[in-house]
């Protein structure tokens, strides 16, 4: 299939359709609404389910219901809407049904604005809802990655029976760039729905989907089962991209759009003779702690760049364990960090290196 000029929000919606998504439930919110609009046209045309819910609270619970029936199902939203979904996300995690959610992050807190941000990192990666659970979180930096990760999200969701969140931001949702969509996968036939799914107790014992374990010991046993699943995810699903780290003295660690902008800053720095490399986590959970531990042994300083006040920064510091200096540059409120601003931070980090060596 050839590359086409695609807008992010439409690209992930169409990618989901081609990944065999059978049902979409959502609520309009900028800057992701084009995804809902695309689904409203395409899903009924394909004989699949589209429903505009009365709220994000209802949307995520509709996802919970459809996921319980064993179909590929998704929703998409943006930061304030995702906050409303936290209850449902916790229930889905506690019931182990698979689902996909795309969060096109915008500036906050509160109503904030509709400009790109990465301020949902802590809410999505660390939980947000109640109880001990984790979600697989994948962060794209390009429209092509957004497409590929959305398709992969459905496979991972079913493999681990979990929610997978594709964590994008307003700029990825709104921008257009050439990308290639995957071929159309067929929707799973009804008779092939998973054996745990609620399909009616025909010729088998009745079964239920629930997240309640009233006996604390039973609840802990379930929590330990989840832990084991998360351990497997941490072992097998770490994803990242790196560039020019071989000879780097300073490593930028940044995800999504911040990682992409940092590429330009890296080039500018190298033209000045500062050897900078980039490590871009794609899976934010599981977070690539071990890889950052390897990097800390090779470089002399790390610069974390985020479109937030420093949320992923905490995880990078956990991995670095104080062994080398960790600098931070973040823009908040929907403001993008610019390459020359990042370059300035690189120069500062470099000058401190010189002082240390004197």
């Amino acid at each position: 299939m050839a590359k086409e000029l695609l807008k992010g929000n439409i690209a992930f919606a169409e990618a989901a359709i081609r990944a065999g998504c059978e049902a979409y439930f959502g609520y309009p919110i900028t800057p992701q609404t084009e995804a809902l609009e695309h689904m409203s046209q395409r899903m009924p045309a394909l004989g699949r389910v589209f429903l505009q819910a009365e709220s994000e609270v209802a949307a995520i619970n509709m996802v919970y219901g459809a996921a319980s029936a064993g179909v590929r199902v998704m929703s998409s939203s943006s930061s304030p809407g995702v906050s409303l979904m936290m209850e449902g996300i916790s229930y889905i995690a506690g019931s182990e049904v698979p689902a996909v959610l795309v969060d096109v992050m915008r500036g906050g807190p509160g109503l904030g604005n509709i400009a790109p941000s990465q301020g949902d990192y802590l809410q999505i990666v660390k939980g947000g809802g109640h109880g001990d659970y984790k979600l697989i979180v994948l962060a794209p930096a390009t429209i092509q990655e957004l497409i590929d990760l959305t398709v992969e999200a459905f496979d991972l969701a079913e493999k681990y029976r979990t929610i997978v969140v594709v964590l994008a931001d307003g700029s990825i949702g709104q921008m257009m760039e050439p990308a290639e969509l995957p071929p159309m996968r067929p929707v799973r036939p009804v008779e092939d729905r998973p054996d745990w799914a609620l399909t009616g107790a025909k010729g088998r014992k009745s079964q239920f989907i629930s997240s309640i374990y009233l006996d604390p010991v039973e609840e802990e046993v379930f929590n330990l089962k989840l832990r084991e699943k998360y351990r497997l995810i941490e072992e097998n699903e770490v994803r990242y991209k790196e560039s020019a780290l071989e000879d780097a003295e300073i490593a930028i660690v940044a995800f999504g759009t911040a990682g992409r902008i940092s590429q330009s800053a890296m080039k500018m720095a190298r033209e000045e003779g500062i050897r900078v490399g980039i490590f871009r986590p794609i899976s934010l959970y599981p977070f690539p702690y071990e890889l950052i531990k390897e990097i800390r042994e090779k470089v002399r300083a790390i610069l974390v760049v985020e479109m937030s006040g420093g949320q992923m920064l905490e995880d990078v510091k956990l991995a670095v364990e104080g062994r080398i200096p960790v600098h931070f540059y973040g823009r908040m409120g929907g403001v993008l960090p610019l390459p020359d601003e990042i370059l300035e931070e690189i120069r500062k980090a470099k000058s401190e290196l010189v002082e240390v060596s004197r």
């Binding site: 609270v57 219901g65 009616g200």
Partner: protein, 260 residues
């Protein structure tokens, strides 16, 4: 009589749609009656293997243990949204929710009204006992004026707490609602009427003509602090005047073929 001519005739059997477990409900609670009526209707329609229930948060949170059919357990108030998701991807199944007054008329008000507004082709069994049972007897949106609860110790004062909410009256206003009725479980005659209504609600879903809800006035002897017998009398004396029994909305297509 000649022993060889004795014929064994089964006059009663426990419903196939109920499991053989002892429920956790308090003695004398009408949840058991409501469960039995639903199960009998599902048995009589022969749809047990094609039915998916959605349990609420509240006393009936464990309903999935008592119904012998596929079941989901929803978040508090979200059963109609979860049922919507299930029904939309399984349109050939019967999907019903079982919800109490706190679940349906308080925290789940948005989900129930929009399910009715959309004409979602699901059936809702609404247990109204004018109190929060599971948390130990606090004021519900259906608590009647003057009723003492643990959060209205001086009785529900309408100046402070406002008025009870009548769900049948609200939901019957929606074009998407096809069958909205209120019945009571306080005596045998009314229990028979309740069963007929539950049947009609499932028939509504079978015909695919939209949202159906049966509200069942129910008791809570434990949290009302009265005997079972007095609790049934209390329904009659205090709940029925506030929540009149009757048919609030019957789709014309149902009137033609109505059985009750």
């Amino acid at each position: 009589m000649d022993e060889a001519n004795l014929v064994e005739q089964k006059v009663y059997a426990k419903s196939e749609s109920l499991t053989r477990v002892t429920t956790h409900y308090c003695p004398g609670c009408t949840h058991g009656v409501a469960h039995k009526l639903i199960a009998e209707v599902i048995d009589e329609m022969g749809i047990r293997e094609d039915t998916i229930g959605v349990a609420p948060v509240g006393c009936s949170v464990f309903a999935y243990n008592y119904f012998n059919m596929d079941f989901a357990e929803a978040a508090h108030g979200r059963a109609p949204a979860m049922a919507t998701g299930l029904k939309r991807v399984s349109p050939d199944k019967f999907v019903f929710t079982y919800q109490g007054d706190g679940d349906l008329a308080s925290i789940g008000m948005a989900e129930i009204t929009h399910a009715a507004g959309r004409g979602e082709n699901i059936t809702v069994i609404f247990i109204n006992n004018a109190i929060y049972g599971m948390t130990g007897g606090q004021m519900a949106p259906t608590t009647v004026p003057g009723q003492k609860t643990t959060s209205t110790p001086m009785g529900r004062d309408i100046e402070m707490h406002g008025f009870p909410i009548r769900m049948c009256e609200i939901l019957s206003q929606f074009d998407g609602a096809s069958y909205i009725v209120r019945r009571s479980l306080h005596n045998y005659a009314n229990i028979r009427k309740a069963k007929k209504a539950i049947r009609q609600a499932f028939e509504t879903q079978k015909q695919g003509i939209g949202f159906s809800m049966v509200e069942l006035l129910s008791n809570c002897p434990t949290n009302w602090g009265v005997s079972v017998e007095d609790s049934l009398k209390w329904i009659e004396d205090h709940m029925i005047p506030m929540f009149p029994l009757g048919d609030y909305k019957i789709h014309p297509a149902l009137k033609k073929g109505t059985r009750s």
